[in-house]
């Protein structure tokens, strides 16, 4: 199961492809809302998919600080990392 940051980033980008225009380039700095048009409902659906893939639960509170692809990948990495 992917737990390295780069593996998580790669898997996240694969999931994001399903939620946005295929022509849009996705980089770690891409803004989820403004550039990928991921609205609040899409974001919550995306999170559910990621939770299944990485066998984690992402608290809604933590999403308030997430704007970019990197920030979301980093959040998942932190939750997956042993405390």
């Amino acid at each position: 199961m992917a737990s390295d940051y780069n593996d998580i980033l790669h898997a996240l980008c694969m999931h994001l492809r399903k939620f946005c225009d295929p022509d849009v380039e996705i980089t770690p700095q891409t803004d989820l809302i403004n550039q990928l048009a991921i609205d609040s409902v899409k974001l919550l659906n995306l999170i559910m998919e990621l939770e299944d893939e990485f066998d984690i639960s992402v608290p809604l509170n933590a999403l308030a600080d997430v704007q970019t692809v990197h920030e979301l990948a980093n959040l998942i990495h932190q939750i997956k990392s042993p405390k």
């Binding site: 409902v41 559910m48 608290p59 809604l60």
Partner: protein, 395 residues
Amino acid sequence: MRLLDKLDAVAAARKALLPAGIEVFGTPIEEIYSSTEAKIDGRRILFLGTNNYLGLTFAPECLKAAHNAIDSEGTGTTGSRMANGSYIGHRALEREFAEFYHSQSCIVFTTGYQANLATISGLAGVGDVIVIDGDSHASIYDGCRLSGAEIIRFRHNDISDLEKRLHRLGDRSRSTLIIVEGIYSMLGDRAPLAEIVKIKNAYDSTLLLDEAHSLGVLGKTGQGLVEEKGLVGQIDFITGTFSKSLGSIGGFCVSNHAQLDQLRFVSRPYIFTASPTPATIASTRAALKLLRDGTELRRQLWENARQLYSRLQELGYQLGPEPSPIIAAILDTPQQALALWKGLLEKGIYVNLILPPAAPEGKSLVRCSVSAAHSVEQMAYVGEAFGALRKTLFQ
């Protein structure tokens, strides 16, 4: 960006979606004729979106009780119960609700929204976890945010997803509050409560059930889903509202946990909100008696609900998963939903329009709520209107 610019952006987005001249949200009601009819834009309109499930807003017993309370205790309490004290009616209604649910204690609140806000934020705090159904009402989400607890969603009515999330928490499941609803407000479906109770017991968690839309609607005496499933006494906390089946405004929480009463001293929404007015309390007490004895009202309500649900199903509308007094036609686009909503209003029927993100899965809803007070003829007319609009709008 200046402070108010974001509100201009919201106004522009709404204007782009909704045509000028139609007040979809907050429709002006010019005169109320009864619990099922009113005057809108100069015309007699059938109410089919008011959550007035038992039709008690004009019950003579409730009107008389409210009139008497105004005459004897005045129009308002002018402050919170902590500051201004508890009237006889506040304490009596709490006793009556506790007795109704065979519970040790009850707190009444000024609104249903406040009941969830106050209960959730009083029970859970920083370091605790709240696990909620993804389709939960906004009052539940807001209560969770106010609590400062970690908020985790599970897929709507998905027992295995709930269990998976509790399992991941390990020992923290013991400091976890699970929140579900008796009937969900958008699609009218029910929580799989027996299975949820088993899971909460297995993980030693605490369960809160919101019976806002199921109070008066389900169960022999109208307690809600808890009664229908034979689970009275097995739910830690039950919240609900007075503004649907009870025809007034307010909310409650009942529990057998003695700690419930401590919310009066720690829950900010309770401490800092003015208490319910004497008239509200009095009409609610009268309505609770009618609700408890309302077997015939529930029979009529369900007859109306099943009639409309099967008619809309026959017509080919996509509906929620089971018959219920909440019947939502699910549309793919906001434009389709708006056209159907507008068409129904032109035919003299007022329903609720629900647009993304308020509707599940990015869909749009035309949401009806059926009442025991609707006549067979009114229900038949609604079916005819939906049938005519199906032909003109969607075929």
